[in-house]
């Protein structure tokens, strides 16, 4: 009995870690590895392309996305978006206008409200998912998701619904390969973050504005004192890390330094954009003691100084390096790599592209043992399935619904720490069946990805539940062809999986591939 068990384990090790057994990855496996880590997996033809150009050139190309043109079809889809391309102030203006009509409780008015919010959220999601699925600048999309998640804001909190498209477009996307200090400042000053972590309300203790009316739900927001929320997360999550050596006193003092960092609250007229402002009247004019330093009163410059200190702090270098190494290499990243990245970060003044260059060139990243060693997050699982099967994505609602069902709703992490990227966070019994359910629905053409079958505010959740419950047997799209899929994914798919696929009818084959253990990992 014991022998049989041993034999099974070694056999499955052979199937799933062929590279580990062989000691060295083949060129094909290396190409697949970079597609699985620098991209959301291959689309048809990608594997050959990367093998032809070589992995080093592919990496270099991905690190300089400005040289990669977006296909016309994608450009056209993106430019057709309305809210996702508007200025934050304009979207907020419409959002507040329609929410302000609360007196009208008619069904029609309520429906209009829901539809507007639904439309804003849907377009924000389309701008993200269409690129993630179709853009040749895959690493850029990965970094957009990574940094958004690092500087997470929640789409369910008040006006952030209307601001997230701008947050991603204006505060995250331009900086994903740039200097970390710039990225940090862009998030610190974006209204979506100022609102989400309450800093827009934080004032010196003696500030007495009286009651300010704030558009959203007509709620009265009283601002006459400190709010620690952003200052704490700025150090705990965005920079130093929870073990970065700061105290409660440092949190309070940093909050004082950041008082007055808010946004232009009168910017609700169309044409006037919603901007960061420093309101000196709200600023705490006292001297602060922060991280062992005496900070003399200096207005907005205090906060700018804090961002600079935090961005270049060795604890920040370590914290970010750990997260990047965990994301790209292994759930338990080797400390040698974290140290190497950390050094690179500090020596380049926080240059993200340089750190990534070091990461992708490292032995740790190229080590055959880490191939396939990461468990996909629900987001990656869905995007990679869409790419591999080249399914249409005109209607993203089933994708949004599936992400929510798998516990990872897009822009839906309520807490500022964002989502985790580890196997421990996502591997659980329920999730596996649900992934298989999604894979089967996608492969058998039962997800209406090419057409919207429901109008209005429903974000696809019902549709996915119908599929999950097996009630909706309609086929909307052609089935995914297993042969093409096997070619696209070739080195990822084990001999055992191929065998099971072959033993089953074509109608089931693509579902088995996309729902296989092999496709759960990357």
């Amino acid at each position: 009995m014991n022998q049989i068990i041993c034999f099974c384990i070694s056999l499955s090790a052979l199937f799933f870690f062929p590279a580990a057994v062989a000691g060295e990855a083949t060129t094909e496996q290396e190409a697949m590895h970079v597609l699985n880590r620098l991209a959301y997996g291959p689309r048809p033809g990608d594997l050959e392309r990367v093998m032809q150009m070589g992995t080093d050139r592919y990496i270099e190309q991905q690190l300089h996305p400005e040289n990669l043109a977006l296909p016309d079809s994608l450009q056209k889809k993106l430019s057709g978006l309305n809210y996702a391309n508007q200025k934050a102030g304009d979207v907020l203006f419409e959002y507040r206008k329609i929410l302000g009509q609360t007196k009208d409780e008619s069904e029609q008015a309520q429906k209009e409200r829901r539809e507007l919010i639904g439309k804003i959220v849907e377009e924000t999601s389309e701008a993200r998912l269409w690129r993630a699925i179709e853009s040749p600048r895959q690493l850029e999309e990965i970094m957009v998701d990574f940094w958004f998640n690092h500087f997470n804001v929640f789409i369910g909190k008040g006006i952030d619904r209307a601001l997230i498209a701008s947050y991603e477009r204006d505060a995250i996307r331009p900086y994903v390969f740039g200097n970390f200090r710039d990225l940090l400042a862009a998030t610190a000053k974006h209204p979506a973050m100022l609102f989400y972590l309450d800093n827009w309300l934080s004032t010196s203790a003696d500030y007495q504005p009286g009651l300010k009316r704030f558009g959203n739900q007509g709620a009265k927001q009283k601002s006459n004192g400190l709010n620690e929320n952003y200052a704490r997360e700025l150090m705990e999550l965005h920079t130093l890390g929870v073990d970065g050596g700061y105290t409660q006193k440092d949190v309070t003092e940093l909050a004082r330094m950041l008082t007055g960092w808010t946004f232009d609250q009168k910017a609700n007229r169309q044409g006037r954009d919603l901007q960061f402002v420093f309101d000196n009247s709200r600023h705490d004019q006292g001297t602060k003691q922060w991280l062992g330093k005496t900070i003399p009163p200096n207005g907005k410059a205090e906060g700018e100084f804090a961002l600079t200190i935090l961005a270049m702090h060795p604890a920040t270098a370590r914290h970010l390096s750990y997260k990047l190494a965990q994301y790209f290499v292994h759930d338990q990243p080797p400390s040698s790599l974290v140290e190497q990245l950390s050094n690179r970060y500090l020596s380049t003044n926080g240059n993200i592209r340089a750190v990534l260059q070091t990461l992708f060139a490292s032995e740790e990243f190229r080590n055959a043992d880490v191939i396939g060693a990461k468990y996909k997050t629900p987001y990656r699982f869905i995007i990679s399935a869409m790419r591999a099967s080249e399914a249409p994505d005109d209607n993203i609602r089933p994708l949004l619904g599936s992400m929510a069902q798998l516990g990872m709703p897009l822009f839906g992490s309520q807490t500022p720490d964002g989502y985790k990227y580890t196997e421990q966070a996502w591997l659980n019994p329920d999730a596996l069946s649900r992934r298989i359910n999604f894979a089967t629905a996608l492969a058998t053409g039962r997800l209406p990805l090419n057409q919207q079958i429901e109008s209005g505010e429903k974000m696809g959740k019902m549709q996915v539940e119908k599929q999950a419950n097996n009630n909706d047997k309609r086929q909307f799209m052609p089935t995914v062809k297993s042969e093409a899929l096997l070619t696209t994914l070739s080195p990822m798919i084990s001999a055992k999986t191929r065998q099971v696929v072959e033993n089953n009818p074509e109608a089931l084959r693509a579902a088995l591939i996309l729902g296989s253990p092999d496709f759960m990992q990357h």
């Binding site: 099974c8 799933f16 400190l226 620690e228 516990g407 659980n428 329920d430 419950n469 088995l512």
Partner: protein, 408 residues
């Protein structure tokens, strides 16, 4: 080999004269899982001082000029508990349980670790090893390991799409989706599809266990929920969404499947840094469905409530003084809630030292005078029957933590 068959054959081969008929098997299993534990975690740090408000302390209203709850009888006042503490009026659904002495509160309780990070504090509360991040498993999983009898995948379940830290570990636990989808048929119930995937996952080093657990848990849930649907239909009214819905569903599942012994649920949205309101508002809007859900749960468990303990806890409390925005920032001590048929309720327990600034932790937060682990430990000991040795495994330390009072 299926786990249950394996266990049956173990029993058969062990020389014990146990007849392996399903009926008898069920009876013994039922006995082993008779005592139930439900843990509800309020993620984001609920403001315990506005859940069980010390209205009798003059500092309370003074430090919270716009968010303090009024005294009993006043407009927007608390529901009086004992002449000093009062319950948030949005929790009125719990009043009956209080009157029946089926609910107790432990105030000024929490973690000895003083972190004000949500994520670390939640982690510590789930691992029950404050200050130690390297702990791999959650304390509910360790409880599971210590319980006698046969464990099936549904012995411990979590409601939600991900497996929480508290239930992670070597012992088998399952998670089911929130809402109706959690107990509906899925694509793997079609024999042809199910068989094909079974072949794919069989023997897989990484995922076979999750796959098998999912299938087995799903079968059990399906069986339990089919009866559930009938009962709901008999009851007539559709269930409301959210926590009251899920808690009612859990009660029905538990009644229909006696193998379910431990349940974990989490609710978010308690991080009220701004505009939290007092008797009405943001916090009240979160508390109302929680109170209703707990009342539903107690009621729908029926006679099983007598054998059930329900704990409500949150990672830390919030500042005693309200902040500049009608909210509260991260604090320290909080209040734990314990409900159950055998709870010595109708009482607010704990070493309460008042809100004078010299009594506060770092001059700003409610002190922690009762370690949350000593509360959990008392439940595990007196309710689940764990012995000293087992308790030390669940709550590791030099000695057993004991609360200075007995609430169960």
């Amino acid at each position: 080999m299926k786990r249950r068959n394996f266990l049956s054959s173990m029993l058969a081969g062990s020389g014990l004269l146990l007849p392996v008929s399903p009926h008898i098997w069920a009876a013994t299993a039922e006995q082993a899982t008779q005592k139930k534990l439900i843990v509800i975690m309020l993620r984001g740090a609920v403001d315990g001082l506005n859940v069980v408000a010390p209205y009798g302390d003059s500092e309370y209203a003074h430090l919270r000029p716009t968010i303090a709850l009024g005294k009993p009888g006043q407009e927007n006042g608390v529901i009086d508990l004992d002449g000093y503490f009062g319950l948030h009026p949005a929790l009125a659904d719990l009043q009956t349980l209080w009157n029946e002495k089926k609910i107790a509160f432990i105030h000024s309780s929490g973690s000895p670790d003083t972190t004000r990070s949500h994520f670390d504090a939640q982690d510590y509360m789930e691992s029950a090893t404050p200050g130690k991040k390297s702990t791999q498993d959650g304390w509910m999983n360790r409880v599971l390991a210590g319980l006698p009898g046969v464990s099936t995948p549904t012995r411990a379940i979590s409601i939600g799409a991900v497996m929480p830290r508290i239930l992670s570990g070597p012992a088998i636990a399952s998670n089911i989706a929130s809402g109706a989808a959690g107990t509906k048929a899925n694509v793997l119930d079609k024999p042809q599809i199910g068989n094909a995937f079974e072949q794919l996952y069989q023997g897989n080093q990484k995922y076979a266990k999750s796959y098998d657990d999912a299938r087995e848990a799903h079968q059990e849930m399906m069986t339990a929920s089919m009866q559930n649907e009938q009962q709901v239909a008999n009851g007539g009214a559709p269930l409301p969404n959210g926590f009251p819905d899920d808690s009612s569903r859990v009660a029905t599942l538990m009644r229909n499947d006696p193998r379910i012994q431990m349940v974990f649920m989490a609710l978010g949205g308690w991080d009220t840094h701004a505009n939290q309101g007092s008797a009405k508002g943001q916090l009240a809007n979160r508390l109302a469905p929680l109170g209703l859900g707990l009342a539903n749960l107690s009621q729908r468990l029926g006679p099983m409530f007598d054998d059930t303990s329900i704990v409500v806890m949150s990672e830390f409390g919030r500042t005693v003084k309200q902040n500049g925005n009608g909210g509260t920032d991260h604090g320290h001590g909080n209040v734990m809630w314990v409900l159950g048929g055998k709870v010595s309720g109708g009482k607010v327990y704990g070493d309460w030292r008042g809100l004078q600034s010299d009594q506060l932790y770092e001059g700003r937060d409610l002190a922690v005078t009762t370690d949350f682990r000593s509360v959990l430990s008392q439940i595990c000991e007196r309710h689940l029957g764990l012995n000293d040795q087992q308790l030390l495994k669940v709550f590791p330390g030099q000695t057993r933590l004991q609360a200075g009072f007995r609430f169960i």
